[in-house]
Symmetry: C2
Subunit: 282 residues, 2 copies
């Protein structure tokens, strides 16, 4: 894990890193002790894995032992920095840490021939007003197969870097859910999740294996995700505690109060894992 940049404002530090070449950002409360913010080996691209932070002895000091960590999965066409506002709220409102990655073919990452083809073909399908949900599901499923092990590697690397994080939550809609659902099914460190704006049969099998508390966000007039598919996907989740929040509007029109509610949902469950009660109801 190589930290390559750091900026700080409003009490929140934002540090860029890479893990196995995947670029990500970590947001935390400002002023936590770490190795000068920038891992110099990382800056020069030749460092030992996580050496900079490990050297600072954060783990033994335990200054932020057990801090909940929220993984933020961006949507299709987005990138890690699109999650900055939400990440900063997680830090400022709840004292959590948050991390986002560029999904394969997004942000700073190179596009494969497959990624390029997807962009071209989806534009053609949209121009021809043909249904795109099956095509999107197929392509994003391929992205998810690449993205899931990347998230697992980042969780491993954060642990090895001496950042003593507590319970992990996942938040991701649309492509964020296509990646997050199989991730939550496979990754026992994830203790609560927010999904939504998804609903293809290809996601059902993984959803059935998710058994942590889960909030599902649905847009009633979603032009990209058929309502029946989204309702069926909600029904398929294995979680004993799951809650569906539906609001009018299209795919990109999730209301602000819903974003806040989803953050509170994660906060309530992650706090419970710490045996604390934040007096949070949503």
């Amino acid at each position: 894990m190589h930290f390559i940049s750091e900026i700080s404002s409003g009490g929140v530090s934002q540090r860029g890193f890479t893990v196995d070449g995947v670029p990500g950002v970590l947001w935390q409360p400002d002023g936590l002790p770490h190795a000068g913010g920038v891992n110099r080996e990382g800056l020069h691209g030749a460092g030992l894995h996580g050496a900079g932070l490990h050297g600072a002895g954060l783990h033994s000091e335990g200054r932020h032992a057990g801090r909940p960590l929220v993984l933020l999965g961006h949507g299709g066409g987005g990138d890690k920095l699109r999650m900055a506002e939400q990440a900063r709220r997680c830090v400022a409102r709840y004292g959590f840490a948050a991390v986002a990655l560029d999904a394969p073919g997004h942000g700073e990452r190179p596009r494969t021939a497959q990624d390029e083809r997807f962009v071209t073909e989806i534009a053609e399908l949209l121009a021809a007003r043909r249904p795109i949900s099956a095509w999107v599901a197929r392509h994003t499923a391929a992205l998810a197969e690449r993205a899931v092990p990347e998230w697992v590697a980042v969780l491993d690397a954060l642990g090895e870097a001496g950042e003593d994080f507590g319970p992990v939550g996942f938040w991701g809609l649309s492509l964020g859910s296509v990646v997050g659902i199989p991730l939550a099914a496979a990754e026992p460190r994830i203790a609560a999740a927010v999904f939504g704006l998804a609903g293809h049969a290809a996601q059902t099998e993984a959803a059935a294996r998710v058994n942590v508390p889960m909030e599902f966000v649905l847009q009633w007039d979603d032009e990209l995700v058929p309502r029946e598919g989204a309702l069926a996907l909600f029904g398929a989740f294995g979680s004993r505690e799951k809650t569906l929040h539906a609001n009018p509007g299209g795919h990109v029109e999730v209301p602000e109060f819903q974003l806040a509610a989803s953050e509170r949902f994660l906060a309530r469950h992650l706090a419970q894992h710490l045996g604390r009660d934040l007096d949070i109801t949503e």
Copy 2:
């Protein structure tokens, strides 16, 4: 409006009253000035309409001018005092007032021949494992026709009694929604509403005339309300801001966190009507 009883505990006063023979309960923060709690004319059943409270000059003093008021509609087979816990939360958490009535044929009210027949026949249908939703919808629609003008009369009476209430919210599931939906469609004083556990075509027309912010609570495995009907009813509401919250479980298994979320929904919208921001997100 005749106040006939008063008890007080934990900072909340609970006063029994009748309006045109309909028994109700009003919950408010304790210690507000009013005419000794019990309207003596009311106690003796022969007083002037609201004289006791009017005489105390509450309105001119304005001690609780604009206090939001939440109307609590109980479910089928319930009564006004079933709403006590929720009412006390509205008062204690948000400083609001709350009121509940016995629906026709419920609580202290006499049962008509029609009410008696309903109880007998629904038991027979249940015993025969026959579908009851159409039958329930027909009977509760008849109850609602009687109950809506009773709620309007109580709002009028509270105003005449000098209780200077602010924006009004309605909360009611199941029978509470069958009554509340036409009430909210007809009553411009209602500024926000929580409905749910309902979904018969008979409710669609009134729902389309509701245009205030609305939260709809759905139980995914509701044995009394078909899921498709509930989803269709949500879709029918005329409100620009409406949000559907669905959770697993049967008709009477609405989770605690959902009740808290619905109360926060009302609190956020009623506070907005006062031009205040309670920093409430749900």
